[in-house]
């Protein structure tokens, strides 16, 4: 079933309107830019990583509601996590939106990020939801640019 209300839930619409951690992070020690050249979505993820822990994280850029809300909630979920925990979240999120992980069956650490599970019913929008996660992953690993079409 591909129900519109599954995709555009209130939480997602709220994060789109009022994205959290939406700013340039002063004192960031890592950052990466994510672009989707097919639709023009573009964002920068800033990280302050100390002792393998994401002390602080932020993002800025422009994109659709799904990409903005996903980025906003990504920053909330990753903040305070260890590098390993953040990478696990990235893996699980990616698997969930591409349909490789059923969050109701397989144990996971996604928590409220499971509201993005509806995205997998909209193949054209999977990249919107995962762009910020790929960008965060790249920043964590010292890369500076990630493209959905590389």
């Amino acid at each position: 079933m591909s129900d519109l209300s599954e995709l555009y839930q209130q939480v997602i619409l709220d994060h789109n309107k009022k994205p959290r951690n939406f700013r340039i992070l002063e004192g960031a020690n890592r950052k990466a830019e994510g672009v989707n050249p097919l639709c023009g979505d573009q964002l920068v993820v800033y990280l302050d990583v100390e002792d393998d822990v994401v002390k602080d994280i932020s993002f800025e850029g422009s994109g659709c509601a799904i990409s903005k809300a996903a980025a906003s909630m990504m920053t909330q979920s990753v903040k305070g996590k260890t590098r390993k925990e953040a990478e696990t979240l990235f893996e699980e999120f990616h698997q969930m939106v591409t349909g490789e992980l059923d969050e109701e069956v397989t144990p996971n650490t996604l928590g409220r990020l499971t509201i993005f599970s509806g995205v997998r019913e909209f193949p054209a929008r999977v990249k919107c939801a995962s762009l910020s996660w790929h960008t965060m992953h790249a920043a964590l690993n010292g890369e500076q640019l990630v493209s959905t079409e590389s």
């Binding site: 519109l4 555009y8 639709c39 422009s62 994109g63 659709c64 799904i66 929008r125």
Partner: protein
């Protein structure tokens, strides 16, 4: 009714009957009737085009220009008959001025390569416009880089109209070619190409018209326009993908070097020296898209059978209706408000990204394009990252535009 009906009753365009010619239009999407508003990306095909393709494979197929046997001659005859149909469509002087290519993109690349190789040197200039599709930007950029030439750009105003005074000022003795779109795919602007061609010709500068959106929506007469080159794709004018045309004035084509080397474009080949075939074969290396081009011939026949002028007039009325219906919706901003427009309604909705618009419209069975429309400089100029674009063909209806308007109101509701 009495017998007093006026003899000159206005001929109405019977869209219900036309729609029966396009099998795909009766299909359901997500339980709803498909509302296809993306013909500017690629148009749907009438049954007669599909039949023509199938017929050639079932009864008339062999390679063209080669065989001494009956079947090859038959395929060649059908294939070459399309060249004559295209000549008539464009009112070109001679059929050999019609070169078959895979589409407008290949057409423009052909001119960039073959014209560029022969006529462009370091310090020369190629002039394009700010509203071009990437396919009328990138080939020139590549050519200019290779040759040390300069790409210059005709600016436009906020409505999406080219600034003709600026255009005149940009033309100079270094300008070797002007390449401009007939109709903008992103904005719908109809450019005043006839006037622009006349201006360029005063300085002896040839002009290429990118007619990818022109031929499907306007009557094109290359002799009246006096353009030097005219490019278009079959697939946007109801023909199969892989069909397309570059028209070129014979005097230019004869001076140009071949585009690709291979079979069919030669006169004689030895390891020391190859001599090239005459027009148009010089530019048609390799086996062409035989069935697709035959489908293009069927598409031209179809357009003639329904009456091109009436169809274009009907499309014009649809666009006016859509502009009146969609434009005033609170929060909607029309992108591209030129006085002369055809077939395209680009818009944004306050606070809603075009991709979200596209997804929500899709739930209603409505297909629109959302994105930059392969015209990123247009988006940059107008300060929007992307737009949603509804584009119309003569098979669309007012009811479909009403459905679009209702769905746009739903988008606004979801994001309120």
């Amino acid at each position: 009714m009495t017998a007093m009906q006026p003899i000159t009753a206005p001929q109405t365009f019977d869209v219900a009957r036309i729609r029966q010619d396009f099998p795909i239009l009766s299909q359901l999407v997500r339980g709803k009737r498909l509302v296809f508003l993306d013909s500017a990306a690629s148009a749907q095909k009438p049954r007669s085009v599909m039949d023509a393709e199938r017929d050639i494979y079932e009864a008339g197929y062999a390679n063209v220009h080669r065989g001494v046997y009956w079947l090859s001659q038959r395929a060649t005859d059908e294939f070459e008959a399309v060249r004559e149909k295209v000549r008539q469509l464009l009112n070109a002087r001679e059929a050999r001025e019609i070169v078959f290519v895979r589409g407008a993109t290949e057409a423009i690349n052909l001119i960039a390569q073959s014209f560029g190789r022969a006529f462009l040197s370091s310090g020369d200039e190629v002039l394009i416009s700010h509203m071009e599709h990437h396919s009328n930007i990138v080939p020139w950029q590549m050519l200019c880089e290779e040759k040390g030439a300069k790409l210059r750009v005709i600016p436009m105003n906020d409505a999406g109209e080219l600034l003709l005074d600026e255009y005149n000022a940009l033309l100079n003795e270094r300008t070797k070619l002007v390449a401009v779109g007939h109709i903008s795919n992103a904005l719908g602007t109809i450019n005043p190409v006839k006037e622009m061609i006349a201006t360029a010709h005063k300085q002896g500068i040839p002009v290429l018209i990118d007619g990818a959106q022109g031929v499907p929506h306007l009557t094109v007469d290359v002799q009246d326009l006096d353009c030097d080159f005219y490019a278009f794709s079959g697939h946007k004018m109801f023909a199969p993908t892989g069909s397309g045309v570059i028209y070129g004035k014979r005097e230019w084509l004869e001076q140009m070097t071949p585009f690709q080397g291979g079979g069919d474009m030669i006169r004689t080949v030895t390891f020391e020296k190859t001599t090239y075939a005459g027009l148009p074969n010089k530019f048609e290396a390799g086996t062409p898209a035989i069935a697709s081009q035959i489908g293009l011939g069927a598409a031209i026949d179809y357009l003639n059978s329904i009456g091109r002028e009436r169809a274009f007039q009907y499309e014009h009325e649809l666009l006016s209706y859509a502009t009146e219906r969609i434009g005033p919706i609170d929060g909607v901003r029309l992108i591209g408000t030129a006085r002369e427009k055809a077939s395209v309604l680009s818009f944004t909705i306050d606070g809603v990204h075009p991709h979200d618009i596209g997804t929500i419209l899709d739930q209603e069975g409505i297909a629109v394009r959302a994105g930059h429309h392969c015209a990123q400089p247009v988006m940059q100029r107008l300060g929007v990252p992307a737009t949603a674009r509804a584009s119309f063909a003569f098979y669309n209806t007012r009811a479909e535009i009403d459905a679009l308007a209702l769905a746009i109101e739903k988008v606004i509701e979801v994001f309120a």
